[in-house]
Amino acid sequence: MEKKAQYFAPSALEEALKLLQKHQLTVIAGGTDLLVQNYEKLPALGSILDMSRIDALKGIEVGKEVSIYTLTTHAQLEAHPWIKEKLPFLAAAAGEVGSPQVRNRGTAGGNIVNASPAADLAPPLISLDARVFLQKGNEERIINLEDFFLGPGQSVLEKGELLVKVVFKPPPARAAGCYIKIGQRKAQAIAITSVAVLVEMAADGKEIADIRICLGSVGPVPIRARKTEALLQGASRANLPLKEACRILEAEIAPMDDIRGTAWYRQQVSKTIFRRALMQALAHGEVR
């Protein structure tokens, strides 16, 4: 027989970390992944750690670095004035998640820890070179978000370890990003393929000084297209090697067939949305 499940809802982060050391607990943030995945077997979740009262895990801080605390909801991210102004593509990605209900409950941290290759926040955050702060007891680790994911539903997060925040440097003024997601319908659609492109133009505005590209849903984890980036690094805006870039990109991704689409479709359309995202990012860059 199962033991009686317990429900903890501490308000201090330290207490939560202690509880995690002491008990085997399932962490719940918005529950939009957890409860859906387990809705016919909720007792199997066992004892619960509800983080919703931990204020230290909420909010967005903007300074030399930007910190998005784990409990920040998609709706908050989407509406945050600084994010909206400086990183509209990240706000847009948050706005692509599910529906208003899901965006009001679902959190940035949950989106990451759930480790779906289709998670909408992963590509833009990886393109921002984000790092995640993980804490277990008194020990803190900082990992590149790109290295956080191991496979569908799998990450480097250890038992009893919490994701505290995602942190990245605000990109320079000459940078602009774009996120494009392809889903089967306009809302409540999991990405069939998605891409985030962040470009930073050189001071003369003619060359790409830096570029980061990350795709979702085209492999077991979000995929950073490093070879494509390398090709485009230093490329001139007037003479972009787009065809070659698409060819390389195609080889960098490893999509699969699933109920939402075939590998072949993903392969083809990923190139299209990459090209569109790049052009849009360049166009945004120009505006500034």
């Binding site: 089967q184 319908r185 479709y265 359309v269």
Partner: protein, 750 residues
């Protein structure tokens, strides 16, 4: 209204003292022999009280033309129930279900129409000679097909296919069987579309007479034709469990169970051969339709008959030969779903019209206008249109719809990767059951109570489509009383004679006629009593605003309430049970000629889409849906039906498809079976056309199904026009639109 405020109580909200919960053990194979059912582990669970197998069925295990309450010898699809676990809690019932061990010997499954027709195919039903559904064959013959082809300038041949589509009702099936402890009597509460069909099946399964079973329909959270075979089988299971345990038993399906076990829209394959003249006139059309019935069949004989009449569309084609049949497969099965084969037929037929127009380099609108059935023409069944016949508004509908939509063919070719397309679909729909199953008949009871309130009972059910309101309006109108007086209790099979199922948009047409008749009889009785009071000839009296008077002498009047009081005081009955029947229609089933339906509804839909040709994304921008409704009894309700109907068709066109792999259902819930969301819905405009058809009550005709049947075709045509590529099998999902064909089905390009 109670559904909007949350006050409505659904079957799952009900609870009875001592109620038990049941859970069905479903098949693990699409086709397999059952070697052994070991229930010992389930019975070891303390809260489990019984495990029921076919041996426990007291009456007939076979119900509804071959469906099995529980499969005993072999399973024919993954939704077959093998055993039923009854327990004190839902959790224990599910645990018990998982603990039942069934030993199977897998058999080669028949998964497609082609599989079913292959020589040497394994038999889905071993007691049958082949996989063809008996009684599912129909044909319609008009004119001389060969001559028509000979006179044609060219011949077009095309094949189209449609998919399994789910009703996607928000409430899965729920039934509760409550035994009567004083006599052999069983009451079933449930979300059941057709209480009388349910009563017959439950009585048969129990081995009782139908009078010993009463079905009480609760608020229904959507059905669209679907809360039928699956809901009824579950009612049978719950009833048997209830007999065995002497307790009320609830069976509440999860979404996944409902998706796997329940009926779907039949997939059809259409093979067309058409002979056309250079000027666009269609001389001859041969069509062969094959329906994929799935593991069991209760409806293909009806959907197919309807298809046989409608397959060639609302066009004046002098020479027609239509053949239709259905096949069994080891898959989920087809049942009734809003439209009842017409959305499939119209998709195929209207795609074909566009392809003919393309061959002729003619505007698709003009081709339809040229061939539209018009006064003086005869319907495919031979009935005359126009003067002395049935209304034929299609030519006007085409003109008016095009004008209102500001139709013009978008210029080709278009710049850029996002392309616009406009698609047209026309349709006609035989109203009611027609000659589908003999006479179309149903009853109504109208009772004036002593306090002046009026109880109305229909043999048909309000499944959310607004019958309550329509019937109440009809009675209030006839009796000249306020709508507030009308009380419409939930349908109860023990009160009124079996009036058939609420299907085929017959609610208002047939049920409304019965209601109108009953109200007229009651009116007569009211006038007789009023005549006594006023000392006037009842024949000369009328009722208006609850006052009865003679128009000749309007000063002398008496109120409705005074009449009611007097009737009760003097022992006069102000009630009537009336029956309306179309009579058995004259119809030749060999040739499909005769009075197929008493009248038809006509319509047209135009849709504008934007297609991103580099991703396959389709955005439906706007649509205009035109419907001949006879007389619009409730315009707001008509629009509501059309909005919802359009979106169902839109889903069928671009999204919806029950994914199956080797007979197993992959899309079991709404995260994988996608329907349009509020964000996907276009601007939908409705144009109501009144033809003064005299058939229904106050001339009303059906709109429940016309509202959905043309939408998918118009969307598909719009997509084809935008991309220049015709997708001949639905849905036009991302990949098909992007590629022009599909990659996912069985991994092969089609």
């Amino acid at each position: 209204m109670s559904k909007v405020t949350g006050r409505a109580r659904f079957a799952d909200d009900l609870s009875f003292h001592g109620m038990l919960f049941a859970s069905t053990v479903y098949s693990q194979h699409p086709h397999a022999r059952i070697k052994k059912v070991d229930m010992s582990k389930a019975m070891d669970i303390p809260e489990v009280l019984a495990v029921i197998t076919p041996d426990d069925v007291p009456g007939s295990n076979g119900v509804m033309r071959g469906f099995l309450v529980l499969a005993g010898e072999k399973v024919k699809y993954v939704g077959d129930g093998v055993a039923l676990v009854v327990a004190k809690s839902e959790t224990a019932a599910r645990k018990g279900r998982d603990a039942v061990v069934v030993d199977y010997e897998p058999l080669p499954p028949v998964l497609s129409i082609d599989d079913a027709l292959k020589s040497g195919a394994s038999l889905v039903h071993e007691d049958k000679e082949d996989n063809i559904i008996s009684k599912s064959r129909y044909q319609l013959k008009k004119g001389d097909l060969e001559r028509g082809f000979a006179e044609a300038d060219f011949i077009v041949e095309r094949t189209y296919e449609t998919q399994f589509v789910a009703h996607a009702y928000i409430e899965p099936e729920v039934v509760i069987a409550v035994p009567d402890f004083n006599q052999e009597f069983m009451t079933i509460y449930g979300s059941i579309q057709n209480p009388f069909s349910a009563r017959a099946a439950v009585a048969a399964a129990l081995g009782w007479s139908v009078g010993q079973v009463k079905i009480v329909q609760n608020a229904v959270g959507g059905t669209f034709g679907g809360k039928d075979e699956c809901a009824i089988l579950n009612a049978c299971r719950a009833a048997i469990a209830s007999i065995k345990t002497h307790r009320p038993v609830k069976l509440s399906l999860s979404r996944e169970e409902s998706m796997v076990e329940g009926p779907k829209r039949h997939p059809y394959r259409f093979n067309f051969k058409v002979g056309v003249k250079k000027d666009g006139s269609i001389l001859a059309m041969k069509s062969e339709l094959i329906a994929q019935g799935g593991a069991y069949n209760n409806k293909a004989q009806f959907t197919n008959w309807r298809a046989s009449i409608h397959a060639t569309g609302p066009y004046n084609i002098p020479n027609i030969e239509t053949r239709v049949f259905g096949v069994y497969t080891n898959t989920i099965y087809g049942g009734a779903m809003r439209g009842f084969s017409s959305p499939q037929c119209i998709f195929a037929q209207e795609s074909l019209m566009d392809e003919i127009a393309q061959e002729l380099d003619m505007d698709p609108l003009e081709l339809r206008r040229k061939n539209a059935l018009s006064p003086g023409h005869t319907l495919p069944d031979g009935q005359l249109l126009g003067e002395g016949g049935l209304p034929a508004p299609l030519p006007d509908i085409i003109d008016n719809t095009a004008r209102k939509f500001k139709y013009s063919k978008p210029a080709q070719p278009q710049e850029g990767s996002v392309k616009k397309g406009i698609g047209i679909a026309c349709g006609f729909r035989g109203a009611g059951l027609g000659a589908e199953a003999g006479a179309d008949a149903t009853g109504a009871i109208v009772t004036v109570q002593s306090d002046g309130s009026i109880t109305i009972v229909s043999g048909l059910t309000d499944n959310g489509q607004g019958l309550k309101v329509a019937f109440s309006q009809i009675v209030a109108e006839v009796l000249g009383v306020s709508l507030d007086r009308i009380v419409y209790p939930t349908t109860d099979t023990s009160i009124i004679p079996d009036g058939g199922p609420t299907v085929a948009s017959r609610g208002v047409m047939i049920g409304g006629r019965a209601m109108e008749k009953a109200a007229l009889e009651v009116k007569k009785k009211i006038l007789v009593v009023a005549g006594e009071i006023l000392q006037l000839d009842p024949e000369k009296l009328t009722i208006e605003n609850e006052e009865i008077f003679s128009p000749d002498n309007p000063e002398k009047r008496v109120s409705y309430m005074d009449v009611v009081s007097r009737a009760y005081a003097t022992g006069q009955m102000l009630a009537a049970l009336s029956w309306f029947s179309t009579g058995v229609p004259e119809f030749d089933y060999e040739t499909g000629q005769g009075k197929s339906y008493p009248t038809y509804s006509w319509g047209m839909v135009i849709t504008e889409v934007e297609v991103d040709t580099e991703t396959g994304l389709v955005k439906v921008n706007r649509a205009l849906s035109t419907h001949d409704v006879g007389t619009a009894i409730n315009p707001a309700a008509i629009k509501g039906q059309v909005y919802g109907g359009y979106v169902m068709g839109q889903g069928m066109a671009v999204l919806e498809d029950i994914e199956q792999a080797n007979g197993f259902v992959k899309s079991k819930n709404f995260d994988e079976y996608l329907i349009p969301t509020a964000m996907d819905i276009p601007d939908i405009d409705v144009l109501i056309v009144e033809t003064g058809d005299t058939y229904g009550p106050f001339g009303g005709k059906s709109v429940g199904e016309p509202g959905t049947e043309m939408a998918a075709a118009s969307v598909a045509n719009a997509i084809a026009q935008a991309t220049g590529r015709r997708i001949r099998n639905l849905p036009c999902n991302l990949e098909r639109v992007f590629l022009g064909y599909n990659l996912t089905r069985q991994g092969t390009a089609r």
